[in-house]
Symmetry: C4
Subunit: 186 residues, 4 copies
Amino acid sequence: MPAAAPDAPESAQRDALERARRVRIMIFDVDGVLTDGRLWYGPSGESLKAFSVLDGHGIKMLMRSGVEVALLSGRSSAAVSARAAELRIRHALQGIEDKVAAFGALLSGLGLGADSAGFMGDELVDLPVLRRCGFACAPASARDLVLRHAHYVAAAPAGAGAARQACEFVMQAQGTLDAVLAKYLA
Amino acid sequence: MPAAAPDAPESAQRDALERARRVRIMIFDVDGVLTDGRLWYGPSGESLKAFSVLDGHGIKMLMRSGVEVALLSGRSSAAVSARAAELRIRHALQGIEDKVAAFGALLSGLGLGADSAGFMGDELVDLPVLRRCGFACAPASARDLVLRHAHYVAAAPAGAGAARQACEFVMQAQGTLDAVLAKYLA
Amino acid sequence: MPAAAPDAPESAQRDALERARRVRIMIFDVDGVLTDGRLWYGPSGESLKAFSVLDGHGIKMLMRSGVEVALLSGRSSAAVSARAAELRIRHALQGIEDKVAAFGALLSGLGLGADSAGFMGDELVDLPVLRRCGFACAPASARDLVLRHAHYVAAAPAGAGAARQACEFVMQAQGTLDAVLAKYLA
Amino acid sequence: MPAAAPDAPESAQRDALERARRVRIMIFDVDGVLTDGRLWYGPSGESLKAFSVLDGHGIKMLMRSGVEVALLSGRSSAAVSARAAELRIRHALQGIEDKVAAFGALLSGLGLGADSAGFMGDELVDLPVLRRCGFACAPASARDLVLRHAHYVAAAPAGAGAARQACEFVMQAQGTLDAVLAKYLA
C-alpha cells in the first residue's frame, strides 16, 4: 500500500490522507510524471512518448469514482493529446508557460478551490503549483526541492506506476478503493 | 529454475507443479505481462509495443511441446496482431471488455475445461479469469492483489522473461523441458 | 547535491568547484552523455534518440545564467539537430572525426581559452578533449579511463540527469543556482 | 577490467585469456547480445532495434586490431543490416535456422578453424555453436545453461556493453588494447 513517503512519520501520513480526502480534481504533469522523463526525437522533433498502462488504469478508476482528472504540461505533443483522448481526460492543458495561471483558470472554470486540487509534479517549474494546491504529490525521482514540498511521494517510478499510486491513495482516503477491488473479486 | 514464488512454501510449489501439469492451453495477457506495461504513443495514438525475444522462444517451445497458446488483452493493436502472427498464435483475443466471457468462449470452442487452462495476468481486471483458471500466473510486478491469487509468480520482469519462465515451468511440470534442453546439447 | 565524485576527497571537490567557476562554455558529447548510449535503428538506419527532459531544463537554466552551451558528437543525426534547435543551442557540432580540432576551432571562434571550457564525455575518443578542457566531466557510466581523467563525475545516469547535474554544479560554483531556486519558491 | 566471470577461479580466467588469444574472428548473436532482447513491433511487424554505441566502438576497435567480426542471427531485419553496414561488418548472417551449418560455412569460407572463432550468444539455440567455437562468450543475462558453457561472461548488460567487454577482453588477451588506450592519452 502506498504511504505518504517511505520514511514519513505517522502525522505526515495522516495529513496526506486528510488532504487526499478533499481532492475533487487530480492534476498530473506529463514528462517525468506520466513518463520517465525521456523525450524521443526523430528527424522532425519529438515523435514518441511512453506512458504506463498502470497509470491509465489508475486514472480511469479515479475518474469513475467521481474525481476529475487533468493534465498540465509545459511541453506540447500530439502523443499527449492522443493518450488524453483515449483516457477521456477532458482537460489536457499543454504548452503552458505559466502553470500557476493555468491552474487558477482551470479551477475557477470548474468552481473549485485550491484545497480541492491535487497535483503531481517533479520539476522546479512545478513548485509554484505544488505549493498552492491542497494535495502536493511527486514521484520518488522528483528533484530534491520538489520532494521537500510534497505531501505524498509515490514509491513507484515515474512513467511506471507513480500516478497509479497517487490515484489509489486518493481513492483509499476517500473510501472508494475497496469497492473497486471487491468488484474484481466477486 | 523458476519456482512457484521466491518465498513459497514447499506445499505451494507442489500445488503449482500439479496445476501446471494439467495445462492444455496457456493464455497470456499482453500489456504488463508480455510487455513491461509501457504504451508508446505517436501523433495518432499507440504506435509501438516492445516484446521480449525470450518470451517468444518460450512460447514457441511450449507450443511445440503440444500446449496451445493464446493471448487475451483488453487493448487492441496491430503490433500485437503482427507479433501473434509471427509466433503462430492462432487465438489472439484483443479489445476484450469482458475477459471472463472471452475466456469461457475460448475454452468451450476448444472443448477444454477451466482446469486445463493457465493464465498469466498482472492487473485487477485479470483477477476474475485468474480466479477461474486452473493455473494462475503473474509476473512479480503484478498488483499486490493479483500476486495473492497467483499459483505461480515469475521472478523475471514482465516483458523480459516472465512469460518465458511460465512456459518453462509448465514444460518442467509436464516432463517435456529436459528433452528440449538435451537437443541443444547433442 | 552533486559532488565531484561519490568518494572524492575534499580537495578534489574544491578543485572541481574552482574549475567550474571559470566555465564560460559547457560542451556535451551526445551518445552516452545526453542519451543512455542506445542507438535506435529502423530500416534506413538510426531513426530515434532519447533525450532527458531533466537535462533540457538544466541546459536552459545554465544558458539563462550566461554560460554558453555546445554539443560535440562523433555521430550525426537529424534528431540531435531537432533537439538542439528546440533548446536553442547554437553550436551543435556533429559528425566530428577530430574532436580536438573542432574543440579548438569552437573556442577560438568565441575568443575563449580552454580553461573557460567544460566538457562532458564518456568514451575513449573523448579523452583528448577532456584532458585539454578546464573542467572535465563524465557520467558515472563512462569508461574507467575516462572517469580517472574527470574533475567531476555525475551520479545520475547518462541520458537521465547526468548533464543536468553538471549544469547545476557549474551554476552552484558560479553562485547562480540559488537565485533560480528562489524564483520557484517565491 | 572484464574477467572470465565474476566468481571464476584463476584457472578459468587463464583458460579464457588463452582461448581469446587465438581468436581471429569474433561472432555475435544479435537479439539478447547486441540488444537487450526487446523486439519493437509496429503495425507491420518488427520496426526498431536498439543497439549500444559502446558495443559499436568495441567492434570497430577489435576490427582495427586485425580481428574479423561477424553477426549470426536467427531473426532477420533491415535494422540489423543498416547497423552492420555502418560498422562495416561484412558478414552479417541473418535468418539463420541452422546456426552450426552457417558457422561452419563462414569459417571454411575464411579458411579458419573453430579454435580461431569466438562467439557470444545468450539462448538455448546458441548452445551448439558455443560448444563448437574456441572462445564461448555470454552476457550475464544469458540462460543458465548457456552460462554454464561459456568461457567468458560479460558483466555489462546485453545491448549495453556486453559485446564491448568481450571485444576488449580479446584485445587484452592479444596485447592490442594498451596501444589503443595509449593513443587517446597521447
